[in-house]
Symmetry: C2
Subunit: 454 residues, 2 copies
């Protein structure tokens, strides 16, 4: 059988690999509109910071028995009923007709600029998604200053990376704190303090409404009429599924704009799967559809879609939305829901935040890590973990990720037996300390017969 | 009620904390024979290496409402039926009578020297358990060379630490490879290669039978008659439960020499609990009793024992034996069973070892990590993970620890969504790569209708 994959990003590549590995005899054709097959999108930020060369991020075309990857090939139309699609060869302009037995749509996401933000000129305004975007930003750095609009993970990373390059950087966020959709306030504050100490100017509670001017002198105006001028502007205002092809093919989209799929990553059309940023996936905690927009989830859903497209039977178990941002001296990330999100979901959260030593204080360079656990009152199901510190945060979040995915309780975390060496960690693991704090709060609430004040 | 804890090591301190935190009104008395309450046993090695000052490892007496810690107090006899014990004040020589409602024995472990090893003189022969042991070893370093007997975790750490101090070091191990009870051969080899490259001389397959001579010139003779001379000798031949007090009190010991307990950490006598190194705990994988001899397990079992002693109802869920050794440029550790152990347990193991990049190769300093997964054939229950690399090994083992404890399968690991930033990890996590390798092997075995050749 022939599996066709549209898009050679993380999800598409994972789907192709899984289809080839499925054991059934199948050939896989990947169609990618870029002139190169694959690149490392999450490393663009490190290229901007100067840690890795941008040229290293472009990958060669993957090769394997049974695999064909066609670059510079834009899929323009899918005939779901006829199991065929039409593409354009961007080098020759020629039309390409392709038949498939199963199709995986992995068309990814694209930068999203909110409607309320008017961009009058564009020569000094960038988003960050492709290698070319990073090239443009790098070449604009000579102008010495930048305004970054959007205080989510990408905005925070871009602002920090440009600052490390020596630019004067202002970071605008419409809400009154950084990473508002990703962290609760006490964790946001750690990021804000860190960025300020690194010399990034924060303009919080400032909704950008207009960008005007040309490269070298761009002005961002906020809803209060204040103006922020800089050599260029990076819009880090989020991403949205690149679902036009799916929509035009008649596939159902969800309310968040992504392709609607079931847990097999099957879209609404026969023999069509979707994976990665373009798909709406099930949130493992709430059970509701979400846009994960994450490489980790793209990799997992791509694998599931590819295996199923090749005749397998794999089920996606839901996304916990693990993420981490590494800012040199501060690593921050989370898994699952924040306390605020949990409350909005009606989940009756019980949370506690602890700041504990990373390892015994007599070790040189021993730092601190702040961990917030969010659990459901009652049984104490773990529904979210946020963490910030200088090191080890990724390992901690990875344990939390598995715990949340498997429905562990806060009490279960007390039984977590970590690999202990005092030069690496404290005997009392930060997850133990945070779990104990939540359990104390739960016990207190039980004694009070009511939820305690926060 | 009054809870008395014998021993202020990791398990005793955890028991005291848990009893105090139990919510019931209880007072806790901890009796410790040392002249100081607590110290950091796992940091002794770092003091020998010169990374931390030895003086920092001695802790002050913990203070808390309801807690009393008496140091220099040796418990000599327990009257289980009468719920009282007799101790000696080592400062005054006076006798101390103590009554209790519940007793937690956390008397720890002591160095074990096998019967087949004859030690003729002792001024140049050391073990490593206490701060005083480390002081003696440090002061012997001026003799410039050492023989370390025993290639387990402590032997490997001591040999490496002494080498870092500039000594000429020979490490003797009776079996033909290092860490034979802890790693399978392919992982042992990585440790052997590393230590050799660091300048440690390895004498494998050499069973020490005699140590003779005085500090400055000690000779170790092996079973083949070869002699290894050095300024001093460190016997790292293991530890055994310090269970004399429990045995004399009439409590049941298990076949491994530890106090027999149930999953509440209850010993055979009424109102007596045991925790930490002195207790035999249930292996979470095999269900059989084991000696964990690990600070992580001591902390968990101490907490369970203390909570139950204070009237709670906590159950220990079994030890997965997480451990890690950090040798600077190499971290190595494991969780659960090795392939060899699994086979000896009759568990029909299916294993695979992968060596993958720690992060994308274009990041400076990106290294490699070797991971071996051991699963049960059939359902693929994860029963062991071994890992070695330069960084991140502890985080990986911690995920594995939770997975093994919770009975996860190899397939479950493919759904593990890690917190991904390319400066910290590869998108394809080493556990994903290793899980895929095991699954390929399992699929191959199914197709063959038989186990594949290794």
């Amino acid at each position: 059988m022939r599996v066709v994959v549209v898009g050679c990003g993380v999800a598409g590549a994972a789907a192709a690999r899984a289809a080839l590995a499925s054991g059934g005899r199948c050939s896989v054709l990947v169609l990618e509109k870029r002139r190169y097959a694959a690149y490392h999108p999450c490393s663009l930020i490190d290229a901007i910071a100067g840690d890795v060369p941008l040229s290293a991020l472009v990958e060669g075309t993957p090769g394997a028995a049974g695999l064909e990857v066609r670059t510079a090939t834009l899929v323009e139309e899918v005939d779901v009923g006829g199991r065929r699609l039409t593409a354009r060869d961007l080098r020759t302009g020629g039309r390409v007709e392709v038949e498939y037995d199963a199709l995986v749509l992995a068309t990814g996401s694209k930068p999203h600029v909110p409607r309320g933000l008017r961009v009058e000129d564009s020569s000094g305004v960038f988003t960050l998604k492709t290698v070319e975007d990073a090239e443009r930003i790098l070449s604009a750095c000579k102008h010495g200053s930048a305004v970054v609009v959007g205080g989510g993970p990408v905005g925070v990373e871009v602002a920090h990376a440009l600052r490390r390059r020596g630019l004067r950087v202002t970071l605008l966020e419409a809400l009154p704190r950084l990473l508002p959709g990703r962290l609760d306030a006490e964790l946001s504050r750690l990021v804000e303090d860190f960025l300020r100490a690194e010399g990034v100017e924060l303009a919080l509670g400032r909704a950008a409404v207009e960008v005007r001017g040309d490269l070298g002198d761009v002005a961002v105006t906020d809803s209060g009429g204040a103006t922020f001028r800089a050599g260029f502007v990076v819009l880090a205002t989020g991403f949205k599924p690149d679902a036009a092809l799916a929509r035009d093919a008649g596939l159902e989209l969800g309310s968040l704009g992504g392709v609607r799929v079931d847990d097999r990553m099957r879209a609404s059309g026969e023999a069509v799967y979707a994976a990665g940023d373009v798909a709406e996936v099930r949130n493992a905690v709430t059970g509701k559809p979400m846009l994960a927009l994450s490489a980790s989830v793209a990799s997992i859903t791509g694998r599931v879609a590819g295996a199923n497209a090749a005749g397998g039977d794999e089920a996606f178990r839901g996304a916990v939305r693990s993420w981490i941002v590494s800012l040199g001296g501060l690593r921050v990330g989370a898994v699952g829901l924040t306390e605020g999100e949990a409350a909005r979901e009606g989940l009756d959260p019980m949370a506690a935040t602890v700041t504990v030593q990373e390892r015994p204080p007599f070790y040189p360079g021993a730092g601190w890590v702040t961990v917030k656990l969010v659990a459901e009152a009652g049984e104490g199901r773990l529904i979210g973990v946020q963490a910030a510190g200088r090191g080890g945060v990724d390992g901690l979040l990875n344990v939390a990720s598995l715990a949340v995915l498997r429905g562990a309780t806060v009490r279960d975390l007390l039984h977590f037996e970590h690999a202990y060496a005092p030069s690496l960690s404290d005997l009392h693991h930060p997850l133990h300390a945070a779990a104990e704090a939540v359990l104390r709060r739960m016990a207190h609430a039980r004694r009070q017969g009511a939820e305690p004040a926060a």
